[in-house]
Symmetry: C2
Subunit: 271 residues, 2 copies
């Protein structure tokens, strides 16, 4: 199962001069398909538009993207649609052309096989050595420049750890390789600020909103390795896996506490 | 004039699932062609191999790359061959597959039209706001993740400045958008260390070797904006343009001094 729409046409190929390949000059979204329909569509489109604003790319219209997403999702019970937007092929060297014809590449992927125990008993979190790049201009958005995550995931064997944690060059906690992280200490929820590194995930916003609803507002702040060591609960999240409690990181063991359970229950309810 | 070889075949397209597009998971080299032959070939191949080592990519054999480069360069008086190497299409999410089939994309491009005055009278250097990403693991190598440079070049009009200077988040001087930078102060040559950010250019190494030969060893060190202000001479370099003296940056004017002239003359001689 793998279908592709390149600028609306069923194709398996893209222009070898595309700036997405040449420079990582674009963005992407990975969207859950449930019963042929995209989940958290509005949130994904909002982030895509925000990223396009920062890169100076004219984002394709939402109705067009939705139509193509639904075309791929038709008859799919459970799956993933990935949307890639690039600045297209025009321009000389790094300098973008003013008249770039934006490329959009939508692809359908299989729903991953996630062990139930990741939700019931939590996951072990690997300590990645590969740092997250620091760049205040690109922080928060989901660009095609993802070598940090590729190298981080190649550090460990997939069967040993469900996810890996990444720090920046200043040893601040930033994110998982494909998730955002939240910690609980003394009843207080915290998550990294992500103003200089990292990706602001769809599920990160949804967890923050859910915590607000439950009267446990999340503090977005700098988080150190000591904060992790002293945490009562830790969980990671993204829009595909939702929430995985963390039961181990380095030498430390963690319980799946009440706050993690409450957030998980709330997220299940609102979906 | 634009010819392409994708894995040895004349094609205009690449697999839309290529990890070079998806994640910037690859490297590139931009190589001068002079009288049908690549210039500084060994240096480019060495950097490519070094980059492949860091990314854990099996670099295609040098004789194969040379054969394909010569195929594109045949009958070309002056031009550029770009080599892109990616990890190919295999793998699930960020995690690379162990059996990835590496992609190689070679393309022929026109030689740029460079005004003579850039060499004779120097260039104005724009002060970019876009920072260079800080990442100790990726520093030095020329990966496909080049959004920093794309955004930096889109900050100014090409006709107003020949190049732009980029700092990191700590306001240290790192590099030009497509060049490395050298400064002279009190007869002493210096260039940024590039151990946490930036690309180590072919010409940067060649300038360092030329300076050694001329008994003016280059100090690789941290360079601040104050160092730039107090510099006697500044020049930028890459393997296509060779060396451009800088005559203006922010409110400061600079002369094209003896050391810059000596290095330029030496580089001309050894090519």
């Amino acid at each position: 199962m793998k279908m592709l729409l390149v600028n609306g046409e069923e194709k398996l190929y893209i222009d070898a001069n595309d700036r997405g390949l040449a420079y990582g000059d674009g963005l992407f979204e990975t969207i859950e398909i449930n019963l042929s329909r995209p989940v958290y569509w509005e949130q994904h489109i909002n982030r895509l538009n925000h990223g396009c604003d920062i890169l100076g790319i004219a984002c394709p219209d939402e109705p067009l993207l939705l139509q193509e997403c639904l075309q791929l999702a038709l008859g799919i019970n459970k799956g993933i649609v990935k949307i890639i937007i690039t600045r297209g092929s025009a321009g000389r060297g790094y300098r973008p052309a003013h008249d770039s014809k934006i490329s959009r590449i939508l692809s359908l992927h299989e729903w991953p096989d996630i062990p139930e125990n990741y939700y019931l008993k939590g996951i072990r979190l690997y300590a990645c050595e590969t740092p997250v790049s620091i760049n205040t201009k690109l922080a928060g958005i989901k660009t095609l420049c993802r070598l940090d995550q590729v190298l981080a995931q190649s550090e460990w064997n997939e069967n040993d750890y469900a996810e890996g944690l990444m720090l920046d060059a200043n040893k601040l906690v930033i994110e998982g390789t494909k998730t955002n992280i939240f910690i609980v200490r003394g009843g207080q929820l915290k998550t990294p600020l992500l103003n200089h590194a990292g990706i602001k995930g769809i599920m990160r916003d949804i967890v923050i909103a859910a915590a607000d609803y439950l009267d446990m507002p999340v503090i977005e702040t700098e988080i150190t390795c000591t904060d992790l060591e002293e945490a009562d609960e830790i969980f990671v999240c993204n829009s595909i896996i939702k929430i995985w409690p963390v039961n181990a990181y380095r030498d430390q063991q963690y319980v799946i506490g009440d706050i993690t359970r409450n957030i998980m229950f709330r997220i299940d309810q609102i979906q």
